[in-house]
Amino acid sequence: MMDTSRSPSEASGFSRKLAATIIIVYMVVTLIPISWMVATSFKSVDSAISYPPEVFFEPSLEGYVNLFTNRSRQPKDYLDTLPPPDTWYEELVRSREMVITGPSKFLPRYSNSLIIGFGATFFSVFLGSLAAYALSRFKVPLKDDLLFFILSTRMFPPIAVAVPIFIMYRKLGLGDTHVGMIILYTVVNLSLSVWLLKGFMDEIPREYEEAAMIDGYSRMQAFFKVVLPQATTGIAATAIFCMIFSWNEYAFAVLLTQFNAQTAPPFIPTIIGEGGLDWPAIGAGTTLFLIPVMIFTVVLRKHLLRGITFGAVRK
């Protein structure tokens, strides 16, 4: 007898299982490096570089302590003269025959990343949505050429213009500043943002803002109160793309930032421990670095899904 409990367009039990298997295999493959990184962050320096690699190990917070502190090695006789350690992390450092000399630069670098990442994302989306709306609604002279020009700024890798930008930034005093980095990342993201958002704006019927304008609102008010809320899907998608770029950008950050506005990506590889790279600290830094962009994506994901159901009911 035929199985009539499902509609013809629904997947059969077998193909569902197959799909689930493929997804799980893919997920495992993708997650291995990430889980290895997270595991490394909880290893001790010795177990991180041991051969064969340790899959099961005694967890330690050494990596995180090393990430957030600067330490110096001291002779044992000197350590014995010190008063007993006050905190668990001092104790951990003492056991490695070192003392804490102060906080490391990780926290300022991390907050630079947050400021520059979110700042650039905000401006990319804000300016992008205004430009996209204008290009979508108004008769702009040479509109197609303008749009092509905006797109053409992404036809070469951004780093190809590193030298002119470096010189410009030095002359303008924008090198190693938050403002400079926010401007740079905003500019790089804008072309993507304008194009993505224009597609979404084109889909929003003009009647909505026309209705609002007749109801006594100015075009700007109508844009913010009626058009933008309906472009949530597009804004969320665009913001995720912009955030990922600004958060991960390495090349310009190495070139243009050093002390004041250095972001986390160029900082993390410089974490050097005793006699080589401090892999647990690097693992800890990378793990912490992963978290904001992950939260950002998960939070906006709700809007992406909501947007899809929004689109299903057009009127």
Binding site: P205, A211, A212, I214
Partner: protein, 360 residues
């Protein structure tokens, strides 16, 4: 409420002329319908009254004040869109309150006005619903509610019933008209559906190719159309146009049709052309047994209360409306003549109706 006057209104988009020097006066408390085929300029006219398009030239007076070049938000009019344009990110209550929020009312005033509009339209039980969960008719009511909640000077509606199914459309026609009367509104309504126009309007303006051809009550538009286009566009089926190969002179009261002579209303005007048309509605023709125009039945449409016969004659195909119990067969030879003196002569050179005893 208000009087709307349109003076020499003209709108072109590049080379395309959407509205040609139109003049209209819409009286206070009038239900005024702009009717015409798609692309005739009726929606453009409405959008200019609303302020969504600016005129190329001409004036729009709202209560004697020229508003033609003001922003939409400064005109105090309301607009109901064909696709309703309810804000999907707000619930029904917020949709209704949205126009009021711009007008600095206190929260209790806003609530009271929203409730009043909702009760009037019988959607007060839906205030908390999401717009996307509403049925077509309820969306229509919410759209109307949003329009009337701030009691504007005039309501403009752009085919608001176009997306509803047929059964519901008839109901909404009645409701709309009742609502219009209840709140003493001035309404300008755009449609391409003559039934909607006929059933609701105080006056109808028939437009074609950017021109207002005639603005009159439904009865006059139907019985005394001023141009061939209006005569053909209104009525289902439209008017018959029988070619006449003779010059019409003032005071003429009969014409030759094939070998017989036909009485027509006494004409007040004449024509220069030899090619003119006799316009006669299908219901103003009848079957006769002798002395009529001869023809063959080509087709029969049964419409319940009546039948429409298409008759093939030497003068072309002619539609005749008869009672539905009239027995006729395809290809049957019949004769017909005119039932009354309601014929109109159209000048073949410009398609205008001639003045006559009947037309004046």
């Amino acid at each position: 409420m208000a009087e709307i006057e349109i003076k020499n209104l003209h709108k072109s988009f590049g080379d395309f002329v959407a509205v040609k020097n139109s003049n209209l006066v819409i009286e206070n408390k009038e239900f005024f319908v702009l009717l015409g085929p798609s692309g005739c300029g009726k929606t453009t006219t409405l959008r200019m009254i609303a302020g969504l398009e600016l005129p190329t030239s001409g004036n729009i007076l709202l209560d004697k004040e020229d508003v033609g070049y003001l922003r939409a938000s400064q005109r105090d009019i309301a607009f109901v869109f064909q696709l309703f344009a309810l804000y999907p990110h707000m619930n029904v209550r917020n949709n209704l309150a949205f126009p009021l929020k711009m007008q600095k009312f206190s929260k209790t005033e806003v609530d009271a006005k929203v409730m009043e509009a909702a009760k009037l339209l019988r959607i007060d039980h839906l205030l908390k619903s999401k717009v996307s969960s509403l049925a077509g008719g309820d969306r229509q009511r919410v759209a109307l509610g949003r329009a009337l909640v701030r009691r504007p000077k005039a309501f403009l509606m752009d085919e608001p019933l176009g997306t509803l199914d047929a059964e519901f459309r008839e109901l909404m026609c009645l409701e709309l008209r009742k609502l219009h009367d209840d709140i003493d509104a001035t309404t300008v309504y755009v449609t391409h559906d003559q039934q909607e126009a006929m059933s609701m309007a105080d006056r109808i303006a028939v437009m074609n190719e950017g021109e207002v051809l005639q603005a009159d009550s439904p009865k006059i538009i139907y019985n005394k159309p001023k141009t061939k286009f209006v005569a053909n566009f209104i009525g289902s089926p439209g008017m018959n146009f029988i070619p006449i190969k003779e010059k019409i002179t003032p005071n003429q009261s009969s014409i030759k049709l094939l070998d017989s002579s036909l009485k027509i209303p006494e004409q007040r005007e004449g024509t220069n052309s030899n090619e003119n048309f006799l316009g006669v509605r299908p219901e103003n023709l009848r079957l006769v047994s002798e002395n009529g125009v001869k023809g063959n039945i080509f087709g029969v449409e049964y419409l319940g209360s009546r039948k429409i016969l298409t008759v093939e004659t030497q003068l072309g195909n002619i539609k005749i409306r008869v009672d539905s119990d009239t027995k006729v067969k395809i290809n049957e030879q019949i004769q017909f003549d005119t039932l009354n003196n309601n014929q109109i002569i159209f000048d073949g050179s410009n398609d205008m109706a001639l003045q006559s005893e009947f037309m004046s």
